[in-house]
């Protein structure tokens, strides 16, 4: 997994609450058996004026000029600024895959849906929870200043504005460590293999029916 340390990124403001993972990546693209290539279809139904399908070229599709991601001043953005409950709905990890493939590496919102929040960390994306009033202010600053960029420092747990104001955010220590170092969760878990085995042995005595298996 890609390491995350310091990101100096252009901000794109998506001024909607409850953005669900169906909106982030519509269902037809979930038919892919690959992990990459979802970026061009990020927010497909909002971003394009026609209907997208897997395998269809996106280059000549009509763009929705009103959608914020299509505005010239936000091209190349890597920080997504948004509202409450971002990533609600379906557990599809295709949502962070699409964001990452597009180039979004940090998301700032007053709150996130649990499964999406968790999925971000598995894909090198840092979701940052800031106070709703602070997010409101960042929206105003971003919309008023073309080229508005923020510096996200995971190690220091700060978001720094262009005026030098530093805003602190919380992140779970374990998740921070893994994201800073790009560590593979499975590798870390397998270090506990003895404990997993001991648990299974004990549990087989206590609750043998849990080990009778799905193979009849």
């Amino acid at each position: 997994m890609r390491k995350f340390s310091v990101l100096d990124g252009l901000v794109v403001p998506l001024d909607r609450a409850n953005v669900d993972t169906d909106a982030i990546i519509p269902k037809q693209f979930l038919k892919s058996i690959k992990r990459a290539g979802f970026g061009p279809n990020l927010f497909d139904e909002w971003r394009y004026l026609d209907h997208g399908e897997p395998g269809k070229s996106n280059h000549d599709r009509p763009l929705n000029p009103d959608f914020v991601l299509n505005q010239p001043r936000y091209q190349g953005a890597s920080v997504l600024l948004t509202r409450d409950n971002f990533g609600c709905g379906s557990s599809r990890e295709h949502a962070p895959w699409a964001l990452e493939d597009y180039g979004v590496l940090a998301i700032i919102a007053p709150s996130f849906a649990d499964i999406f929040y968790n999925n971000c960390f598995k894909n090198g994306i840092l979701p940052i929870v800031l106070d709703a009033a602070v997010v409101d202010r960042l929206f105003r600053e971003c919309e008023a200043n073309e080229g508005y960029a923020l510096t996200v420092d995971l190690d220091k747990q700060t978001v720094t504005t262009p005026t030098g104001e530093s805003i602190r955010f919380d992140v779970d220590a374990g998740r921070k460590h893994r994201l800073l170092n790009g560590l593979d969760d499975i590798g870390l878990t397998l270090l506990q293999a003895d404990k997993i085995k001991a648990y299974e042995e004990r549990r087989k005595q206590e609750a043998p029916w849990l080990f009778s298996g799905s193979q009849q």
Partner: protein, 472 residues
Amino acid sequence: MALFRMPGETLFKKLWDAHVVHVEPDGTTLLYIDRHLVHEVTSPQAFEGLKLAHRTPRRADAAIAVPDHNVPTTDRSQGIADPVSRLQVETLDANCAEFGITEFKMDDIRQGIVHVIGPEEGLTLPGMTVVCGDSHTSTHGAFGALAFGIGTSEVEHVLATQCLWQKPSKTMLVKVEGQLGHGVTAKDIALAVIGEIGTAGGTGYALEFGGSAIRALTMEGRMTLCNMAIEAGARAGMVAVDQATIDYVEGRPYAPKGDAWDQAVAWWNTLHSDADAEFDRVVELDAAKIEPQVTWGTSPEMVATIGGCVPNPADASSEVKRHDWTRALEYMGLQAGTPIAEIPVDKVFIGSCTNSRIEDLREAASVAKGRKVAPNVKLAMVVPGSGLVKQQAEAEGLDRIFIEAGFEWREPGCSMCLAMNADRLEPGERCASTSNRNFEGRQGQGGRTHLVSPAMAAAAACAGHFVDVRKE
């Protein structure tokens, strides 16, 4: 003599404690997973990751797989027409064959929606930790299990290690006391709860549903309720084990038998929150006051009663909400102040992991019996949750009731809940749906979804618009 007595434990804590493998100093816990449900959409990249790292499943016997999202609900004798969908289902078949995972394939009578077949086969049992790469895994909490949805990276993690890293959730008791009115169902409780606490109200919590109205629900009703916990933002919803739970499980193909059954039941009977357990939050609802619910917007919290009207954004409690409501009304093509009962429907969908079980079909059939689908309704379809639900419904003659009324009677799968197969809404079409999400585009780009109970959906199909099922 003890001067202090520890408060009682919540069901969540009992389930959690029984599955702890290891705890890090910061409280992050390695939790053991008893049952892993697998479907075709969120597993291919997990199997690929496993193979790239030269790993194999730790316990293939703890996993069970079924294709459900992409499968056609019409004639299956020709297989899947869409080559991309077909490849995804074939990839599941190949991965299960390679790793020795039991799969109920498309032509198996046991095939169906993953959250229907788990309980139906006794693969979901009380006291288990159950995960699946699907947010509606919360359904299985109806059995006094700790069940939650995970992403594909975690699917791979469970395959490789049979564990997940978790931090304990906060706990919320949703207490519903009293008796539900005639024609009011578990779906209406679920939507009323979401209307009360909001779609993010349960974020960070495990919900336990309790109270006399919950105890009175059948297992099907409890599954509907727990299924919708995720629409309130909670990864897990649960109901304590009682005799109804045990009666449902007994005799299921994968349920324990003989001595193991007795041993299991002895433990399962402890799976309830103690009387003096403390929750981080308690929400109380009066069952008698819950009316049939209909969503009017693009989030499940945008919900009204059948006697109500489409709200006015000017009445929203905040600027952000006002903006959301305005946008939702525009997308839904609705005017503020329109009575819900005057909204006409173009299509009706009865199905999904929320409402496709036998009891749901019985409720819908009892409303549709002897009536006809209204002429303005282009399509009314019933999609049973599994092959066995379909078989049972046919044995009871429910299929004839639906067909004679003008409904289409389909093969099992997720179908128009998320429209990954051919079943979908066209732009602008309005649907009365028993599914779980009314998001923009969920049932097809530009489609307009109103979430309702099965009885309310059947009534809307026959009336051509929403109607109070209690007056039918």
